[in-house]
């Protein structure tokens, strides 16, 4: 895993205790938006639960030899989903309104290393969308044409602005991919309508 990025911003709800100059005491930590935080933290367990239920429905009617093993896994997964939901709910609702959140209580917050602030999401989302477009159009346009169109788009999304650099980078990248896969590894990549 990448080492923690030193430039990573802390989340809005990150705990920080500051000395209150008026009283000489530590100011209570600013509490995160609990409800939103709670539902965000439930995304993975709930998705896992939906997956388990859908899988269970999908294997209805299968004989025991086929279905036994997945059913055991589904039961285990649903139990873990329930445990995760209960623990998240407990962490949220046991914190009484008049008690300010403290650093210790906030230590159960999901890691803010990759924070989910909207500003952080835009570029990764754009890259993901471009990748999805690449996958959809690759059978039609072929690998190289898709690369010529989409890889520069990724570079632009990431902040490259000089046209000549983008053109040079695309040329080098596409040529390198051709040499590595078609020539060296002898792996043909989809030609698309050009083939």
């Amino acid at each position: 895993m990448s080492p923690k990025d030193p430039a990573a911003p802390t989340s809005p709800g990150a705990a920080s205790a500051e000395p209150d100059p008026r009283r000489g005491q530590e100011r209570p930590v600013r509490r995160p938006r609990r409800t939103a935080s709670f539902f965000v933290r439930l995304v993975i367990p709930l998705a896992a639960g939906i997956f388990a239920v859908a899988f269970f429905r999908g294997i209805e009617g299968l004989p025991t030899q086929s279905a036994t093993y997945p059913r055991i896994l589904i039961a285990a997964l649903l139990a873990l989903v329930a445990i995760n939901v209960l623990i998240e709910a407990r962490a949220l609702f046991l914190r009484r309104p008049h008690q300010p959140a403290t650093q210790t209580e906030l230590s159960d917050e999901p890691s803010d290393e990759f924070g989910l602030r909207p500003a952080d999401l835009l570029q990764p989302l754009a890259v993901i969308v471009l990748m999805a477009v690449f996958v959809v159009f690759m059978p039609l346009l072929g690998f190289y044409l898709s690369a010529i169109v989409l890889m520069p788009s990724v570079a632009v999304v990431l902040g490259v602005r000089k046209l000549w650099l983008i053109a040079l980078f695309t040329a080098v990248l596409t040529t390198g991919a051709y040499l590595l896969f078609e020539i060296f590894l002898e792996v043909p990549l989809p030609p698309g309508f050009l083939g």
């Binding site: 589904i74 997964l77 990748m131």
Partner: protein
């Protein structure tokens, strides 16, 4: 003995040596480059490895692993920014040494300690591999099933900061792996109408998606610039071969003057590496704290003590070697990178596990010997290349990300000429981003994907052997001991959950 000699013969082929050198140099680049860890790189190498002979494919991956284990120390020493998770500990004394003007000496010590750790660990594994495999051969279907469960529980408990999240991730992985035709009846189970899932969930696209694609998606956040890369390249000492050789020799001398520290750290790393899921960062922390406790001058640790660097780096490379043991003998990956090594074995038609010493003994020994040779070559190649290769850290992410994405797409497609696989990789990439953003570790999910088919096959066969009696799984002393270990481990992990956060382990 004959298998060891056959393994040596395989390794001595020019093609194998060439892949060893390529892997080692690639490992140096990976180690210094933020954003590309050994697991991610190993996943990218998978499609390449399919076209190679089995021994070359494995040698390429393990030599990359060995190279990255050392190279991560370079940015850790120069700039207090670990190149890989295990180098966090190296920075604790390496960086103070660099601040005191002893950067090249610190790198020299790290280099020699890495060599020693890899050689000592590899030599012991070479001796132990056959006896351990023979012991593992005693395991029947039920024991192998329980070992698979144990492996998954161990990894889920140790990776990340929460046992419940690790277990959830692991079981999701195992269930995803079950989205295929039943191995007993051939009936499709929740394949969503996709013929491509009939055989098994293609875990190569899943591995590439979870490791490489998710990493690139996360790296594309606006806050993740590469200021460290610029500063790192500025901190690199000027290329001066004579000076570098002099410092390399000083590093060798300083390391060899502390044989007890070297051997102790290597043995700790080897032992820790054999436990699935522990990884280099946990091993290095343990090695470091043992070294400090046993030192006559513990107060010097953290202020530029060479023994601190030795404790971290010798352990680091020994862990990578140790992680090969459960991978080869039991078919249980010792780390994320060895999970990919396992995938490479499957792709080559080799089923890892206790029988591997019988079916592919020379190849298994060639892998260990490659690790030893790669570790030795770290010394000369590390002098010449590791420091200049730091300039790769300057590579802006605007160019790194599209390059890796394109290589991923091409690599995944080339496995089965399947656009479905590419789409699957993107889906897993998105899943990886979501999970990591929300604090769920992805390594247990990967382990679940790899271990799931092993667990199911052995579970169903054991159930058949027991005539459908569930108590069969508890009717041998070995099985009871293994179940006991599972329970103890889960209980210990849950009760001891307020442990200090270890860096999330990906390698």
């Amino acid at each position: 003995m004959s298998d060891i000699l056959s393994g040596l013969e395989l390794l001595a082929q020019p093609e194998s040596l060439l892949w060893l050198l390529i892997g080692l140099c690639l490992g140096f680049v990976v180690g210094v480059l933020p954003g590309l860890g050994p697991s991610t790189t190993a996943a990218l190498l998978l499609p390449v490895s399919v076209g190679l002979p089995l021994d070359s494919a494995l040698i390429l991956i393990v030599s990359m692993y060995a190279g990255s284990a050392f190279a991560g120390a370079v940015p850790a020493i120069l700039l207090n920014i670990p190149g890989e998770a295990g180098s966090v500990v190296t920075a604790m004394d390496g960086y103070p040494m660099a601040k005191a003007g002893k950067a090249e000496l610190a790198i020299g010590i790290a280099r020699m300690a890495s060599v020693a750790g890899g050689v000592i660990g590899g030599t012991i594994v070479l001796v132990l591999l056959q006896p351990l495999s023979s012991l593992a051969l005693q395991f029947g279907r039920r024991e192998i099933f329980i070992v698979a469960v144990l492996g998954l529980v161990v990894i889920a408990s140790l990776v990340g900061d929460s046992v419940r999240k690790g277990l959830l991730s692991g079981v999701v992985g195992v269930l995803i792996a079950a989205m295929s035709a039943s191995p007993l009846t051939g009936q499709p189970r929740f394949t969503l109408g996709f013929l491509e899932l009939y055989g098994e969930v293609p875990y190569v696209p899943a591995l590439i998606g979870l490791f490489a694609l998710s990493e690139m998606f996360i790296l594309s956040r606006p806050a993740v610039a590469n200021p460290a890369g610029e500063a790192l390249a500025d901190a690199v000492p000027r290329f001066n071969l004579r000076g570098m050789l002099g410092q390399a020799l000083s590093g060798v001398g300083e390391t060899l003057r502390r044989p007890v520290a070297v051997i102790r750290s290597s043995l700790i790393g080897l032992g820790i590496g054999m436990i699935p899921g522990t990884g280099t960062s946990i091993g290095n922390f343990i090695s470091y704290s043992v070294a400090r406790r046993q030192s006559k001058h513990p107060e010097t640790f953290g202020k530029g003590e060479p023994e601190g660097v030795i404790a971290a780096e010798a352990c680091d490379n020994a862990v990578t070697t140790g992680s090969l043991v459960p991978t080869l003998t039991l078919g249980i990956p010792g780390s994320g990178t060895t999970a990919i090594l396992l995938a490479a074995l499957y792709l080559q038609g080799v089923a890892p596990g206790p029988q591997i010493m019988t079916t592919n003994g020379p190849e298994a020994y060639a892998v260990i010997l490659a690790m030893i040779v790669a570790s030795i070559l770290i010394l000369p190649l590390g002098v010449l290349l590791a420091t200049p290769l730091v300039y790769f850290a300057r590579l802006p992410k605007e160019y790194l990300i599209p390059t890796v994405l394109l290589v991923c797409i091409a690599g995944v497609f080339s496995m089965r000429n399947s656009v479905f696989d590419v789409g699957l990789a993107v889906v897993f990439g998105v899943l990886g981003v979501l999970m990591r953003s929300l604090g769920y570790p992805i390594v247990p999910l990967v382990m679940g994907l790899v271990l799931g088919p092993i667990a199911e096959k052995n579970f169903m066969q054991a159930l058949t052997l027991g005539d459908g009696d569930w108590m069969y799984f508890f009717q041998s002393p070995t099985a009871l001991v293994l179940w006991g270990l599972v329970i103890v481990l889960v209980g210990y992990s849950v009760l001891g959950r307020r442990k200090p956060k270890a860096p999330a382990e990906m390698s």
